[in-house]
């Protein structure tokens, strides 16, 4: 029940409205704005022949201050690359294109190298990202031994109900749930303006997963922009303000979370199919699978599975604004 309270707590009203207000007045820039992001990999095919795999083709997403946005896509769709792309930690054989703006200014290579770990933080997917040979305290403080850092560490421990002794332990001495809180703590040492969480809840049971999500919700309520990348739509619906749905390398819909209460208020047929596939909404499924990046159809990538597909779907589909959300479908209304 705690999770709900966090979400509906003080300030939630104006938070819900603020993005729209921002757009109208144009005063406040989004913290993070990604436009037409594409990421491709070069791979060796046979012998010396190289092929380029476009894993992300067209990704658009915006995160405002105090807002929590979830990017939801199926596993293996390459959505983790989004986080790595923003942080500038893509592998050497990846190429990124598109435009990333942070607080109104373009996020260049030099800029992200200065900002990451301070204003922009990544909470990685796995607790395996903690250094196993370093005690928790120094790990969260990143080697800062000043009294102010120690003071801050104490307040963070208190906030996440971690015992102060934890600071003197190694990661292997903690349980999975505690390590996960430690991972989130590493993000809090500085005052981040943008937090990117990559699949923060794999294999956690429902109660624990909800609590982990609630921690990110708190970060948003404190004023940071939070981008959560997950495959778990049901969980995302509990805590996020907006949902961006990712399919076959592109965002197909962006919708306020309230629109997920009813199938008719959703815009894209894939999102509607996701909605109907929830066990409590009929557990229906559609045939086929997400196309592999090598053989994507021209035009709409969902067309082969779409019940309303027509000849106009074979063209390039624009990502357009519809009813306070966005949709990449010619029929979305």
């Amino acid at each position: 029940m705690d999770e709900k309270r966090v979400k509906c707590g003080a300030g939630s009203e104006d938070r819900m409205d603020s993005p729209a207000v921002n757009k109208l007045s144009g005063e406040k820039e989004p913290v993070l704005k990604i436009e037409h992001m594409s990421i491709s990999f070069t791979q060796y095919d046979r012998g010396m022949r190289q092929v380029s795999l476009p894993v992300i083709r067209d990704l658009d997403v915006e995160v405002h201050a105090g807002e929590m946005v979830a990017v939801v896509g199926s596993s293996g769709s390459g959505k983790s690359l989004l986080a790595h792309g923003v942080m500038g930690v893509l592998p050497y054989n990846a190429a990124m294109d598109g435009r990333i703006t942070y607080c109104g200014e373009e996020l260049t290579r030099e800029r992200i190298e200065k900002l990451r770990g301070r204003e922009i933080v990544l909470v990685p997917q796995s607790i395996a990202f903690l250094n196993p040979l370093m005690k928790i305290g120094p790990q969260i403080c990143k080697g800062d031994k000043r009294a102010s850092a120690r003071e801050k560490l104490r307040s963070i421990f208190k906030r996440y109900e971690l015992d102060e002794r934890v600071g003197n332990l190694y990661p292997f001495e903690l349980s999975g749930g505690m390590n996960r809180r430690v991972l989130i703590s590493t993000a809090l040492m500085e005052e981040p303006k943008l937090v990117i969480a990559d699949e923060p809840t794999p294999g956690l049971d429902l109660a624990v997963a909800k609590r982990a999500m609630a921690h990110f919700r708190e970060l948003a309520d404190m004023g940071a922009g939070v981008l959560v990348i997950t495959h778990d739509l049901e969980l995302a619906l509990e805590v996020a303000d907006r949902i961006a749905v990712f399919y076959a390398g592109a965002t197909v819909e962006e919708a306020p979370v309230q629109d997920f209460q009813d199938e008719d208020s959703l815009r894209h047929p894939y999102t509607k199919a996701l909605w109907r596939a929830m066990p409590q909404h009929g557990f229906h499924y559609i045939e086929g699978a997400q196309p592999y990046v090598k053989d994507l159809p021209a035009g709409c990538s969902f067309a082969p599975r779409c019940p309303q597909c027509g000849p106009e779907c074979a063209r390039e589909i624009a990502y357009r604004a519809v009813r306070g959300g966005k949709v990449r479908c010619v029929r979305g209304k």
Binding site: G73, S74, S75, G76, P202, G203, L204, D205, L206, A207, V208, H231, L233, E234, A273, L274, A277, M278, P279, Q280, F283, H284, Y285, I286, E287, A289, Y292
Partner: protein, 206 residues
């Protein structure tokens, strides 16, 4: 057929926590039973005991009145694990993973949506959802009578989850395979199971 657990107790080490105590369960092959409990109540341990990966300290697992350990060769109770990436041999191409099963029929492979192209690849080249389809296919061999599904769909997106469960339900119905499913998602359990058991109530069925 009937899978029975009689008075089973289990702990991992001699002084360790008593995970199961005098646990009883009987599942018919026409049934689909859902197991629920929070983390740490021994759901996975119970699955391993049921499928013969662990031996109970006390009590027995009986299949049609015979102890499970007396079945030679292929075990008729097959378990599918939560993390498929740890359940397939990383050095075998996926085609061989299928061959580890008991003469897997072509329709199972197709029904689970396994693409012919995936068969040539190695486990590290596939996503968790793709690997899980292989683990399921491998467990649905000809002599399988009971399927133990331990959180098999947490890594899947909603549509794939629904797709795979629909296939599984049809398959177990057709072949009269009993199903025991573990999941954290109460709505999912309500959908797929005919009966629910909460491990917190330690064996006393609701």
């Amino acid at each position: 057929m009937k899978l029975e657990v009689k008075d089973m107790s289990y702990r991992y080490t001699a002084k360790g926590r008593q995970i199961l105590k005098n646990f009883n369960l009987a599942v018919d092959s026409s049934e689909r039973v859902g197991l629920t409990a929070p983390s740490g109540y021994g759901k996975t341990t119970l699955c391993q005991l049921l499928s013969g990966y662990l031996k109970p300290d006390q009590g027995q697992v009986l299949l049609d009145g015979q102890p499970l350990s007396s079945y030679q060769g292929y075990c008729p109770v097959q378990m599918v694990w939560q993390h498929p990436e740890f359940a397939v041999n990383p050095r075998l191409p996926m085609r061989e993973v299928i061959h580890e099963g008991d003469e897997i029929e072509e329709w199972v492979i197709q029904g689970l949506g396994i693409e012919p192209d995936w068969l040539r690849r190695f486990p590290t080249e596939l996503s968790g959802g793709e690997l899980q389809r292989f683990s399921l296919a491998r467990a649905l061999g000809k002599r399988t009578r009971f399927l133990i599904a331990d959180e098999i769909s947490t890594m899947l997106d909603l549509i794939t989850q629904s797709q795979i469960w629909h296939f599984l339900l049809e398959e177990v119905e057709k072949r009269q395979i009993g199903l025991i499913a573990v999941s954290h998602n109460p709505e999912l359990i309500d959908r797929v199971c005919t009966r629910k058991i909460d491990l917190r109530l330690q064996g006393e069925e609701k």
